[in-house]
Symmetry: C2
Subunit: 395 residues, 2 copies
């Protein structure tokens, strides 16, 4: 952390709300992605929680970039004071963030954007704010700043951010980071195997890449112009048309020409090699709620944190743990004996569980899923089979 004065440049939150994952099926569907759902019984969707978390930091109204199919739902959930940009087609994260950056830069050439996925969970909002403000200060120096999540185990499912070694010669052209709370980044590393993940965990210099980036909008666009000029140019031209009569036409013409690429490959990796990336430690809880086992874990922790206890789950006030180790998200009534499970459902039926362990039970109108938590990662394979089984409408 740091005692530097508050940043002078305006901060604009950017929220890419994309990705139709299958690992929370049947809670999430192709038409009802994870970020639109209240997965934790918080009374708000993950998108709404994300926007609420960013609100105290915002100097300009936040920009949500989402797929055209979800535009209406996103607008409804976001409410007043949030700008929603609809992508005509999915082009990965770089075009979405570049467009938001171009819109922010059009309004204020000093604008600093902070991009945060719409479907991650962070509970310690105060630590989150503090880290983003540190990142903001480092971004004002011209860095692409990422927030690095402290690893809690040797995860093989995340990319890693490798901090430059203490005292290593800095190759970059940018001002020193002293006083910002940020550290120079040596490299981004793709998802490792277990042996490397264990090395990373032991090194103390590696953090998880949670896709959180803070950067001056014009720094991002200029750097992108070096790497993929047409993409930077296209983003600026679309942003210039937003709010004008030509908006839809320009979007329809240019969007399909933009390179489909992730910000990690388009910018983070090449800029890290040039010493232009910094990392701020993210000393807060973070969870991408990657599958039902992760969600079950979140519900267990949240249940404890909230101090909730036994009950019938019918009060709708969040996940309810029972004496039998049953967590309920929804209004479903459960009765259990020697059972440990997480239950998602709101049907009128009694859900009775006997002798089961580490199970997720998801009841929706059209699907009942019973999943062993240690097979949570296999769920995608099952969802992929739906189409072939003539059940594509359940995706």
């Amino acid at each position: 952390m740091s005692d530097s004065p508050a940043p002078a440049s305006p901060f604009v939150p950017v929220v890419p709300a994309g990705g139709a994952g299958t690992r929370l099926w049947p809670l999430s569907r192709a038409a009802r992605p994870k970020f639109l759902l209240d997965l934790t019984g918080a009374g708000e969707s993950l998108l709404q929680q994300t926007l609420r978390r960013l609100a105290p930091l915002a100097d300009r109204s936040p920009i949500v970039v989402t797929g055209a199919a979800h535009e209406a739902a996103v607008r409804e959930q976001s409410g007043e004071g949030v700008r929603v940009l609809a992508e005509p087609s999915a082009r990965n994260s770089m075009p979405a963030i570049a467009l938001a950056a171009a819109l922010a830069a059009r309004e204020d050439e000093d604008a600093v954007i902070g991009s945060f996925a719409a479907d991650h969970l962070i509970r310690d909002t105060s630590a989150f704010e503090q880290a983003v403000r540190s990142a903001h200060r480092a971004a004002e120096l011209g860095y692409l700043v990422t927030l690095g999540v402290q690893p809690t185990h040797a995860a093989t499912g995340f990319g890693y951010i490798e901090q430059a070694a203490e005292g290593s010669a800095l190759v970059g052209p940018l001002p020193d980071l002293a006083g910002t709370g940020a550290r120079p980044v040596a490299a981004f590393v793709e998802k490792p195997d277990l042996a490397r993940a264990e090395e990373f965990l032991a090194s103390g210099r590696h953090s998880w890449n949670a896709g959180m980036f803070v950067v001056r909008a014009n720094v991002l666009l200029d750097a992108l112009a070096e790497q993929i000029p047409a993409l930077a140019d296209g983003a600026r031209r679309i942003a210039a048309a937003i709010g004008t009569d030509a908006e839809q036409q320009v979007l329809a013409e240019l969007w399909p020409t933009l390179t489909s690429i992730a910000i990690d490959h388009a910018l983070a990796e090449p800029l890290a090699a040039q010493g232009r990336v910094a990392v701020v430690p993210a000393p807060f809880d973070w969870d991408d709620v990657g599958d039902l086992a992760a969600l079950a874990r979140q519900l267990r922790e949240r249940g404890s944190a909230d101090g909730t206890d036994g009950g019938d789950g019918a009060d709708g006030a969040g996940p309810v743990p029972s004496a039998e180790g049953i967590r309920v998200l929804g209004s479903a009534r459960t009765l259990a004996l020697d059972a440990q499970a997480t239950v998602y459902g709101s049907s009128e039926r009694l859900i009775a569980l006997v002798g089961v362990e580490r199970l997720s039970v998801v009841e929706t109108d059209d699907v009942l899923l019973i999943l062993a938590d240690d097979h949570a990662q296999s769920l995608s394979s099952l969802v992929k089979r739906l189409e072939g089984e003539g059940l594509g409408d359940l995706r």
Copy 2:
């Protein structure tokens, strides 16, 4: 088996259809007991299968004795040619069988009755018939004859029939059993602990008591008159009134006075001590479908025996095994990955199973049960809790 001539006395099947067990809940309910259900996808209830199995043996129409609450359903399932006697209240098996015996004796004093529970499964009907005919011949000699099921494991959930040792002195007053296929019984033994059950299994002289009794109606009533005179007398008096104007009045008056006792305690045990009980080996499959794990096993075996294979379970033609080790009873559609389970259900919803093992999933309109098969015996404890949880209507 034996080459004796066919028995001369008429055989009257008796089917006690009672007992509202809880171990197949929520398939069976207090108001919809196991014997009324088609639990195996055979297209018939267990009661109907029992009656069909007995039909080739019957010289007189079978007598079903059931609780008043189930009389209408039993009549509907039994159809023409079956007599249904409704007990005003549950008095255990002896009064029910005594009443049926008295009715059979009233019609034909030589009648031999054979009593078989309404909710057991036997697939090898030909071996069953042969064993009952052997028992019939032994019964004509004056014995109370039981069919002894060959133990397949050291079960602690059944009582055992102990055959007299080869060459042991017979204490009884009855003719020799030679040529009947039956052997004298030394004793009935209550459910043993595991150590004793293992001894029994090793002895070669112990068989499971499946509650199948064949006996001359008058032998039964006379023996009962020695043991519990009022019960024998009451049964005869009620039987005399059946079909007359006084039937309901006599039943209402006398039935509540009859001793509530099982045939094992009332007759089988004391008569065995007098050398008046014989056992016929039951060389057929037998299952009392005691819990959901037993039912799952039945469905697996039946599936194999029927030669059914992969499918979606929607054809209603019995339990359908899938490539993933899923058996379905009902029309429920399943999709599975690394899963082994038995599914009972006919809702429209897809039931998706991932990574689960040895599980029973029961879907009814008002209950979803997920039960680890190794906890099948615990189900009763859960069902007992329903009342206290304000869910008594789900019993």
